[in-house]
């Protein structure tokens, strides 16, 4: 039996690394990758709880999270491509058109 603290630690560590990437990196594509890491961390937590409670509900919820992650990646890349076509950059510091 895998201890629940180990599963929690793994999920939270992956989540932490992803959050670090979203906040620190300035490359838009790498920020989207870090978002995938965040969702993966949550999936690990759900699978671990499902394993410990002997119930398939956690896995089912994780499946829905994967569906949502795929949707987010597809639409996010559409937005990145159309932004890049207009501005020729994906440095986050250049995203300041709304600044007064």
């Amino acid at each position: 039996m895998i201890p629940i603290n180990a599963v929690f630690g793994l999920g939270l560590l992956i989540f932490f690394i992803g959050l670090f990437g979203v906040l620190f990196r300035k490359n838009l594509v790498i920020m989207l990758m870090s978002l995938e890491l965040l969702l993966n961390g949550v999936n690990v937590l759900l699978a671990g709880l499902s394993y410990h409670m002997r119930s398939p509900r956690g896995s089912i919820f994780a499946i829905f999270i994967i569906i949502m992650a795929v949707s987010e990646a597809a639409v996010g890349f559409g937005l990145v491509l159309s932004y890049f076509r207009q501005k020729k950059t994906y440095d986050m510091d250049e995203f300041n058109e709304l600044k007064g």
Binding site: I2, I4, N5, A6, V7, F8, G9, L10, L12, L13, I14, F15, F16, I17, G18, L19, F20, G21, L23, F24, R25, K26, V29, I30, M33, E36, L37, N40, N43, V44, A47, G48, L49, S50, Y51, H52, M53, R54, S55, P56, G58, S59, I60, I63, F64, I66, I67, M68, A69, V70, S71, A73, V75, F77, G78, V80, L81, S82, F84, D93
Partner: protein, 168 residues
């Protein structure tokens, strides 16, 4: 015992390679490490007896999303991004938020808590998974299919070159 060893092996791989995803300069290297992370997380799922979840992870993440990232990085050519020039307050914010979360992780790792009690439904078998997915969670499942259709259309419309009302 064996499952525990497999879990720790893949957990160490996942944490190491996700660190590399965040810290590599070249975006293509980051994508390769992302593929590595995703596959090791699938190994973690297998060791946690979530076989279907692991298979879906390999198919969807390893086969779909990583290839999508590679295509986008090829299309969007990689020019250099200037080094960081943030002000003091946002920099304090982006340092303190992960630091607080990291303290919380240490707290979680070193407190002893009892394992949660088993739920009313017993078993992690594939049969119980499928029965619950297609009875209790049928409506969310159908809504998810509608979401995927909307994403298919929306991504095409957002990423296309010409506007919709363009006469050409």
């Amino acid at each position: 015992m064996i499952a525990g060893l497999i879990f720790y092996f893949f957990a160490a791989l996942a944490v190491l390679s996700s660190l590399f995803v965040v810290t590599r300069k070249n975006a293509m290297h980051s994508v390769m490490y992302l593929a590595f992370t995703v596959l090791s997380v699938a190994g973690v799922f297998f060791s946690l007896q979530a076989e279907y979840l692991g298979a879906i992870q390999i198919l969807v993440y390893g086969g779909g999303i990583v290839v999508l990232y590679i295509f986008v990085i090829i299309i969007v050519n990689l020019n250099e991004i200037k080094p960081e020039r943030r002000k003091l307050f946002p920099r304090m914010f982006i340092f303190s938020l992960p630091a607080l979360l990291f303290l919380q992780i240490i707290n979680v790792l070193f407190t002893n808590r009892p394992t949660p009690p088993a739920g009313p439904e017993a078993g992690l078998s594939f049969t119980s998974f499928a029965e619950m997915l297609f009875s209790t969670y049928l409506i969310p499942f159908e809504i998810a299919s509608i979401l995927l259709l909307a994403v298919l259309i929306g991504a095409i419309i957002v990423a296309r070159k010409k506007l919709l009302h363009d006469p050409d």
